[in-house]
Amino acid sequence: MDGKTANANPTILDRSDLPTRQPALTPESRLSPIESTVPTYPLDPFTTSPSPLSSTSSDDATPDPIDAQEIYDLVANITDPEHPISLGELAVVNLSDITVHDAPHSPFSHVQLEFTPTVTHCHLATVIGLALVVRLRESLPARFRVDVRCKEGTHSTAEQLNKQLGDKERVVSAVENASLREALRKMMLSV
């Protein structure tokens, strides 16, 4: 077996057990295939143009806040650097380890994400942490402070690692590194 592999045989969660956003659908609002056998005509195409979009688009009256599940969905599909398996399936990221404080009109919102390397000596923890930071920075509005850290007691060099991930300049210079950049690009192909 390949000596470089940090963990050749990790435990895997089934996709259907990963946390997903439960659609706020009651059986009433769910469009059953039987009901949709027949089109429901708009009142009159001559006064309002028929639109396939109007049924699916919700209006802007009720904003959706950014929550932990949204953060989870942003990162859960990142591929692990050594298995073709997602960080969600490997339980490297877990919904319960994400906290979000969203204050829409203030500059003080923040996201904290604690990740769990598959083994405590995992030498790829840095790359994983970096990928998480990069992904969240790239995807969240500027008002969010992003705090990615290794979950306490899950890695032998957690303290050092967290310092690295918290240091903006070190993150920026790490991303400049060509081979690291390529590794990150590959991990992100599945997002």
């Binding site: 045989n9 259907s16 059986p27 039987i34 056998t37 195409p45 143009s49 028929p50 959706d64 950049r181």
Partner: protein, 1037 residues
Amino acid sequence: MEARLYILNVEKDPAEAARIAAEAAQRIESKQLKLLELVQSIGEHLTDEDTTTRAKAIGYLAAVLDSLNPRTLTRHQIPVVSQFLCDRLEDETGLKSTATALTALGKMEYFGKNEAIMVATALVKVDLPKHPPSTRFMALSLVDALMARHRDALKEMGDTWIAGLADLVGGEKDPRNLMIVFSVMKVILVEFDISNHEELMFDIIYCYFPIAFRPPPNDPHKITAQDLKSRLRGCLAATPRFSGLLFPRLIEKLDSTTSSVKLDVLQTMSACALSYGPGTMSIHCSQIWDAVKFELLVAAGDEDLVKEALEVLMSVAISLSSGIRAYPSPNTPLARYLKAIVTECLNLLKEPQQKQAKPAGQIVAIVATASAVAHAFIVKSTFPVFMSILSDAVAITKRRALMESLNLMFEATGKVYGTWSEKSDPQPISNLLDEYSEKLFEVYSQALMGSSPEETSYRLTAMRGLGLLTKMRDYLADSEIGMVVQYLDDVALEWNEKEEVRDEALRILREISTYRGKLIMDITFPAFMARLPDSEEHMDEHKHYRATLEALAKLSSERPLFEVMLTRLLNKLDVILQENCSPDYPRSILLTVLYVLRGRATSPITSEEAKAYYQRLIPRLVTKTVLPLIGKSQSSTILADEKVVDVTGRLMVIILQNVDGDLQKSVVSDVFNLIVFNQPSSLLIDNSEAVAANFKPLDIDAESQTSTVAVLLAYVLASSRREIALPYEDLHNFLQKIITVAENPKTPSHRLALLRIIGLIVNKWMTQKTDIEKLEPVVEGLMKDITTTNGGFNNVSGERLRVVFWVVKALLMRVERLGLYYISKLIELLGDPTYGDMVSRGFGVLMGDDELLNKQHYAVVRLLAKQQVFSLCLPKLVDGFKSAIAETKPNFLIALSNILRNVSSSVIKPELPALLPLLLQSLDLSDAEVKAATIETLHVTLLESADALKEYASSVITRLLTASGVDKGTGNSPAVRISALKCLESFPEALRTELILPYKRDVLRKLMTVLDDPKRTVRNAAVDCRHKWFHLGEQSS
């Protein structure tokens, strides 16, 4: 003489040359010419200085021989001609012609063993590799022909032939020639004694492995890499003598990093394993297992590789199983092979939730499918362990993972011992899984019914397992299968279950319905029907009856089940109609029937079946719709509600389209009696006289519900073929009558039905020139008060305008000149401040596909009709837009977007230069629908002909960015924002990087704000879009 003529003509006039040869052949057959004379006549050319003349001379002989009846040449002539041609083989320039001639000669009846040996002996002396491919092709074709007809003679030649052949074909590179070489070599390897030349033969063949061939463009021979691969594989698998040389090399090649090579290696291994036989495979099986398991357990490549690797392991097991009819004793190769596999995999499966357990489970299951004896060995050596893990393990993840692997085993068992739907051959050894059936049923039932509903994947796994256990032929007892059905019913009807869980339960029930339909009728249907409330009062607040109906529909695709469901649903409908209720519930019940009938697309409804459904369903429904309206029934009038009548009409369409012409015709006349003529109609089961007297749906002052029943007329007209004459004598009169009703419609669906009736009559039944002539004043009259209006908007005029659009639509489908004339008029009306907006929307109706007025419902639709209308309209719209006042300009853009939405992108493409400026202006409107449609057009353009957008990239990107910003009266609905982002996301892949790189910074900066959009779906689209642009310009390796 002929020889000379042939030589002169063969290049410049091949047809003439062929004629000369054919004529000579005929003369030989009729004995006017002797073959020997002909041979002599070419003799003088054979000493010609010019090499091509010599070749052509032999070519003449070849052509003549080819045209001869195989019986013409005598026993005495053949050896002479053979000898003559064999001597010519020494003349290298004529090789191609000589080989052709010999191939033709070989087909002669009296060409015998001695001649074959003579030719073969001469042929192997030829230095073939130095000749061009087309010459080699002819020589190889000769070899092929000899091998086909005189194989025994060649066998007698022994090593001379084999070694000689090796020289002939060695180093061949041309793909067409290789196809022959491989097929010849396969015969040699299988039938000839190659014991002295094993390595030589192997080297000749193996040097082509792996094939890395890409056919040149326009290859006339159409040989694919796959063709070559299969033939080469056939050679490698032809003789077990190769095994010692081949397997080590294949195993080495498995380290390749190219997955196509790996795939080829694995497929070759499988082919060899299946053909080499158990003796040979017993020597190599352990090294193969070691190599292939690495691929599965460690490398874990893509799905194809996994599949092929598993296939290899199975093929080896199949090979080792051959001839074994009883449980394999420990020292047999099969037992040793399987034991090695089991030891390793079982170890991994003890921690089933870990990554390598999954392939381990796949391996165990696939080797178990190899044979009944392999299955027995696997079950006996693994199941005791599996069962003890199941009884010890508490952790659900662990149990679930193991059950996943067990499910694979159940599938394997189904393959070996058969399922209810697929019987297997009788097996020599009984199914050892039988002894676990009770325990497995218990464990799986417990997992499904005894665990928390939160455990989605665990219960899904358990459910699938139960499905597989049920499916295995003669495995579970009938009482157990009945219990499985009950469990699945409970799951499917439990509204708190996740949807995917309920769907899976239904899927399995549906599968069971194909082999145990009776259980579904006896257990599931009553359980489901009991959940349908008898009235609205009993309805739960979530209206779960919809899901119940959906489940019933999904189970009723087979005819017997459908018929049972139909009876039960109609009875339920009667009960519901006893009391007043909203239209939704009866409508859903009828929709359920419609859903099943529509789902029958794969097995069309026969006319006999349709007739039966018609008789059971339609008169009953129509009667129940009409009688309450005239007070002849105490039941609810709800079936006459527009929402319900609509579904009744659609049921009529799907049934009537499948009945025979006679019934169709009588239904048309019945529906006219009921709705138009107010005469007794046999669409009614009773009271038809009373209905004729009191039910007048086309009266202007009829009650709204009564009027609505006229909708049925639209559906019946749609389902009628054009050949069925309408019972109304003067169609114009009838049309006029409908138009009058249409001027004051009662409800939106009433209006739509009347417009459709108008469109259907015009398109399907007013096809004569005189009809059209009479139509013109009608349309003119309708248009008149619109064009002369100077007051405000008038409702009746609005309705008339709708009628005009439908008449024009019906005409344009046939590309009638009158239609083309009125479409110009309508474009002019876009500039009208009162009606312009309405007209602009009308273009959506005009160009859109209607559900009833279309080709499937027998309308006349000319080829490319839309395209013609489009090219007529476009310049007029562009001009109209330019000259319009600011107030009406948007009307032209809205009309345009309504047209574009309904024509295919290939039609739009050539017009893009004229269109793009307008499209960009449409994006500045604050109409969400127009924006969405325009972005859609731009997106399709970008994906299909990005070049057209090249010079507009800057303005398009800027406008899309604007359109992705939150709605502040700009018409940027969330849907618009999302489609703008999706379109923007396609730019990095659609256009060359250097063209759009300049916009990267701007896009990323602007999208930063969109990341903070109030709607989550928009944010998600923004994240994806920004991600694409973020990586724009990076090297991708």
